[in-house]
């Protein structure tokens, strides 16, 4: 088979079984997730786009999901790996329920579990290609953390994945404060999502905002943000500068 090609075999057809099972590059990806703590709990926002390379292939991907009674997860990166993570979490919650002891896993515990999974997969050179945001409230304590594909994890008052780190975090650092009301929190998240919509090529104008409080989880139905394109400079950009663009 290799009489003409003397290079070492790199395709999965010829390589070992193990190689073809690893995630080498992501295929269908979700873009940023942004999360903030507010007065009553946590707010997460994510759009509903699943890009296949540079094509916007899927426009109704739910990237915000509840986990157990006390947590919310938002996932960016490879969608199939996110679905696998949801399976792991379902098993985890199921086992926890089977104890039937009145205790339930809180967001801190779920975040720790996710961190272990992500880091261990990374050590085996077979990562789950995701950046996750995990938020929740248990016994009045709010928790918001993030973990990514190499196992880097931390918690903060506001987190973002992907492009959100560059575009949303500066805004959040400036304008987040303790005791945001729900309305203020949504306005702040929408501001961040709007900037991401303008400046991230893989963003779509169809987003969901999810809220978690002591009472439970609410995920909003999908909606679109208003955008403004009517700057006079955009209408005739080369006025007075003929020949340029």
């Amino acid at each position: 088979m290799n009489s003409v090609d003397s290079k070492p075999a790199t395709s999965s057809l010829i390589g070992s079984e193990a190689d073809s099972q690893r995630t080498l590059y992501p295929y269908v990806t979700g873009t940023s997730v942004v999360g903030i703590k507010y007065k009553d709990g946590i707010l997460l926002a994510a759009d509903m786009g699943g890009s296949y390379g540079s094509t916007l292939r899927y426009k109704s991907v739910e990237r915000l999901k509840p986990v157990g009674k006390h947590s919310l997860i938002g996932g960016s990166g490879e969608i199939s790996d996110f679905q696998e993570i949801m399976r792991y979490l379902d098993d985890l919650i199921l086992s926890d329920n089977m104890w039937d002891d009145g205790n339930s896993l809180g967001p801190k515990e779920v975040h720790n579990y996710l961190t272990r999974i992500m880091y261990n997969r990374r050590n085996k050179f077979n990562p789950l290609w995701n950046s996750l945001v995990l938020g929740g409230v248990k016994n009045g304590q709010k928790y918001l953390g993030t973990v990514n594909m190499i196992g880097v994890h931390y918690e903060d008052n506001h987190v973002a994945t992907g492009f959100g780190n560059h575009l949303a975090r500066p805004l959040l650092r400036d304008e987040w404060h303790e005791n945001l009301t729900f309305e203020e929190g949504v306005i702040l998240l929408e501001k961040c999502m709007r900037v991401l919509l303008y400046r991230d090529r893989s963003a779509v104008n169809k987003l969901q905002i999810a809220k978690i409080t002591e009472e439970g989880v609410t995920i909003s139905p999908p909606y679109a943000l208003k955008t403004f394109w009517n700057f006079s400079a955009f209408e005739n950009p080369t006025l007075g500068a003929e020949g340029s663009w």
Binding site: L167, L171, V195, A241, S244
Partner: protein, 273 residues
């Protein structure tokens, strides 16, 4: 007909002769010297009466801050200024060069320089060097046709925009602009928005830091606000100042003026023709 090649006068500027050799050496493992980059957040915006340009003041050489307070807003013409990001030498040289060309052009035409003139000179120079002159510029000014703001990329493409950001801190600054820019801002609102955008770059980007420089250009007037904001002062300065240890004795203080090195001879011989 002569078969020898015609002697061309040296054109000056970039010579590509060593590129092949450098590439070969790098492949063999030679560590290339890192150049002084300006990391940078630079912004510009158009407000009611003209253009406001802003820049941070940190120059980096790899991971080290080489200059804590450099000037990134360069003079092009009395009514045109240009912020530069990328390799410091490239931005300095290219803006100086075009500034001189604009001055000569002003003498030739007897008119105030136009922003599109600077734009065309810069973009054709950068394009001819195919991106090797690593200068990303925000060019702004007010001329007879009105206020103009342009961005110029190292390969020579340009954009005409109402608000623009460039440099490593451009995303942090653009986040501020996209959420807060409106048309018809007043001068103070514009200056505050520019300062906010630069501060966003300074505090959220590692390649930008130190102080905020601002330049406000309006019809017939410009204000260069060097170090308009100093949000990074030295936090701990010892009030005692520096004191010598007790063992040091000051024996004598004597000030010796340096002797004049050059002896000027009055009425010396004239230079030979």
């Amino acid at each position: 007909m002569s078969t020898a090649a015609i002697e061309m006068p040296p054109k000056g500027g970039f010579s590509f002769d060593l590129c092949k050799r450098n590439k070969m050496l790098a492949a063999k493992g030679l560590k290339q010297p890192s150049f002084l980059k300006t990391g940078t957040t630079i912004v510009g915006l158009i407000f009611k009466d003209g253009v406001i340009l802003g820049a941070d003041t940190r120059a980096t050489a790899g991971p080290i801050v080489a200059d804590k307070n450099c000037e990134k807003i360069h003079y092009m013409a009395p009514n045109i200024y240009c912020c530069g990001a990328g390799t410091a030498a490239d931005t300095e040289a290219v803006t100086d060069m075009v500034s001189s060309q604009l001055k000569l052009h002003r003498y030739h035409t007897g008119r105030e320089s136009r922003v599109v003139t600077a734009l065309s000179l810069l973009k054709s120079h950068l394009f001819s060097y195919q991106g090797h002159v690593s200068a990303a510029l925000v060019l702004g000014g007010v001329d007879v046709t009105g206020p103009h703001l342009h961005t110029i990329y190292p390969h020579g493409s340009t954009d005409t925009l109402p608000y623009a950001t460039m440099g490593s801190g451009s995303l942090a600054a653009m986040a501020v602009f996209e959420s807060k820019y409106r048309e018809g801002l007043s001068r103070d609102e514009g200056v505050n928005l520019v300062a906010e955008a630069i501060c966003s770059g300074i505090f959220n980007d590692l390649g930008s830091g130190s102080n905020v420089d601002i330049c406000v250009i309006t019809q017939g007037n410009q204000e260069y606000l060097r170090n308009h904001l100093l949000p990074n002062p030295r936090t701990y300065i010892s009030e005692k100042g520096y004191s010598f240890s007790k063992k040091t004795e000051v024996l004598l203080t004597k000030i010796t003026p340096l002797r004049e090195m050059v002896d000027v001879i009055e009425g010396g011989d004239a230079m030979e023709e």
